[in-house]
Amino acid sequence: MFRRLSDPEKKVRMTFEGQDITAQEGESVAAALLAAGITHLRQTPVSGHPRAPYCMMGACFDCLVNIDGVSNLQACVTPVREGMSVHSQVAEKDLLHEDG
């Protein structure tokens, strides 16, 4: 679905569901995942449908992932970090609603 105009210059290594991913320093987790061909970031709590980043600017919350054990983080506003371990999440209803 996406490609990079040029290879990352300053590489950052991370994983998604255990799979190695090379990202560009400074970019968001969502951008790194999309560039690596990963489009299903989470499943919705209600119907279980897959979701991918929609707005990339922190408004839609469709990019929620688990990063290093912490759930409900917005992949599009979280910068990549060396060694980061990202997992897709089935957003737990209660977690989501604790703050709503």
Binding site: F2, A31, M56, L64, D99
Partner: protein
């Protein structure tokens, strides 16, 4: 705790110019932004792109490169830039922000909200599927990461940003399968009376150039498209619509939707500012005077967050707000404020008049205000337009009741994606105006704040208040 004269939320064109201007008159200024660098939406990552990827700077166009100068002026202005700071709660003379997983408080004599716009949600059946993104989202991938769409790409909707993205993608060597315009033919006639003002503003010549470029690239253009819908179960497979008397189905790997931008109302709503429905712009906007003062004392708002005027208008409005704050804090006499504001005031008015043409031509089509029953309007809680209608027919009289009854708008996005649509459906079903219908009540925090971050804050704050 530190107190600044002026705290500005948002380092886009409005916030950057306001900060530079206010510093010029001697005010102490702090600018907070969720992003890592100044620029806002239009000039996102402009400093990094200019320094590290000159080819990308060129393909993004000269309007984008203009942001470099604003960022430079801002950097040397002496305003404190608090980057990666999410402002989640406002009080009349202070605010709370989350930075590096810790909450901080900042006190300010005046607060200027320059938090910009979000893209108007485009609720069509299937818009929640992976493989559907907004034009702004695709543009952010290009600006920030040099990542571009690959495969069969379809752009659908209307508005300057959609055409701009098309031109930028073409310049980046992408192929665009088709551009599907959702402008009803009648809109062209309605827009004609506003043409003269648009001619003077520069918007039009830019638009015509973009369109010509698109056509000469061989991109297939469909006009007057209706009944848009995305097909595909796990991933978007095709965009289907009605145009020119035919049912069209375009196989696509990526469907890019856009129908303009609307003010990001979260902060002004959470603070309790009065908002009005703007029927010209088809959005709610905070009520302000000509300087940006809101209905809440000591709080101003300018830029696209206060009503859509575009990036150049945001600069002028930012300058005017800074002059007003300087006056109200005694750094400037009223007379000086007025004298210094004449040029920006004149240019702002001209830019806003020029926009009327765009507002009429690119008003969202009726079907977006009244989506088919099966459309998910609330992406978080997966509530359909049909469920909202049923709730209204069975007695819910306003958006907040619909929310309580259906959970629509209760998810983590706090109604950003469904708010306008739900108000539109309630208004239509009840036969009332948008102004009468109103909008969700928005309470702070405007984004879910991890409890650990609150606990780490070096202040006593009522957990109940913020993490209800």
């Amino acid at each position: 705790m530190k107190t600044v004269d002026l705290a500005i939320v948002g380092a886009g064109p409005a916030g950057m110019v306001a900060a530079s201007e206010a510093r010029g008159h001697g005010l102490s200024v702090a600018v907070l932004d969720e992003q890592e660098a100044p620029g806002g939406q239009i000039y996102r990552a402009v400093e990094a792109v200019a320094a590290q990827a000159p080819e990308r700077l060129a393909l993004l166009g000269e309007d984008y490169a203009h942001g470099r100068r604003l960022a430079e002026n801002f950097r040397v202005s002496g305003a404190e830039h608090i980057d990666r700071a999410l402002v989640w709660q406002l009080e009349p003379n202070g605010l709370w922000y989350l930075r590096d997983e810790v909450c901080h408080e900042l006190k300010a004599n005046r607060i200027l909200l320059a938090s910009g716009a979000i893209e108007r949600p485009v609720p069509i059946p299937g818009w929640t599927r992976p493989g559907v993104m907004t034009a702004g989202g695709v543009q952010i991938l290009l600006k920030s990461s040099g990542v571009v769409p690959d495969g069969r790409v379809v752009l659908a909707g209307n508005g300057p940003l959609l055409y701009l993205l098309a031109a930028q993608l073409l310049a980046a060597g992408c192929r665009i399968g088709a551009l599907v315009e959702t402008v009803p033919y009648a809109r062209y006639l309605e827009a004609v009376p506003h043409l003269p003002a648009a001619l003077g503003s520069g918007y039009l010549s830019k638009g015509v150039r973009l369109l010509r470029h698109l056509r000469s690239s061989g991109t297939r253009i469909y006009r007057n498209a209706r009944d848009l819908r995305v097909e595909g179960e796990q991933h978007a497979e095709a965009l289907c619509f009605h145009a020119g008397g035919h049912e069209v189905r375009l196989d696509s790997d990526l469907i890019v939707l856009h129908e303009g931008v609307i003010p990001n109302q979260q902060l002004t709503r959470a603070l309790g500012c009065v908002h009005r429905w703007d029927d010209g712009q088809k959005c709610f906007r905070p009520e302000t005077d000509e300087w940006g003062n809101t209905s809440v004392e000591d709080v101003l708002t300018v830029g696209d967050g206060a009503g859509i005027g575009g990036a150049l208008a945001a600069e002028h409005a930012g300058r005017l707000a800074a002059l007003e704050v300087a006056r109200s804090l005694g750094y400037l006499q009223t007379r000086e404020r007025d004298r210094l504001s004449t040029s920006s005031r004149r240019q702002l008015n001209k830019l806003l008049q020029g926009r009327r043409f765009l507002e009429v031509l690119y008003a969202p089509p009726e079907e977006r205000q009244s989506p088919p029953d099966e459309t998910l309007v609330c992406r978080c809680e997966e509530v359909t337009a049909g469920q909202v209608r049923t709730a209204v027919r069975t007695g819910c009289t306003g958006p907040n009741q619909v929310k309580a009854f259906t959970r629509c708008g209760m998810g983590p996005c706090q109604g950003r994606m469904c708010g306008n649509t739900v108000s539109a459906i309630v208004a239509e079903t009840q036969g009332i105006t948008m102004e009468e219908c109103g909008y969700y009540r928005i309470r702070p925090p405007i984004k879910p704040i991890p409890l650990a971050a609150l606990a780490a804050a070096e202040v006593d704050c009522e957990l109940d208040d913020v993490a209800q």
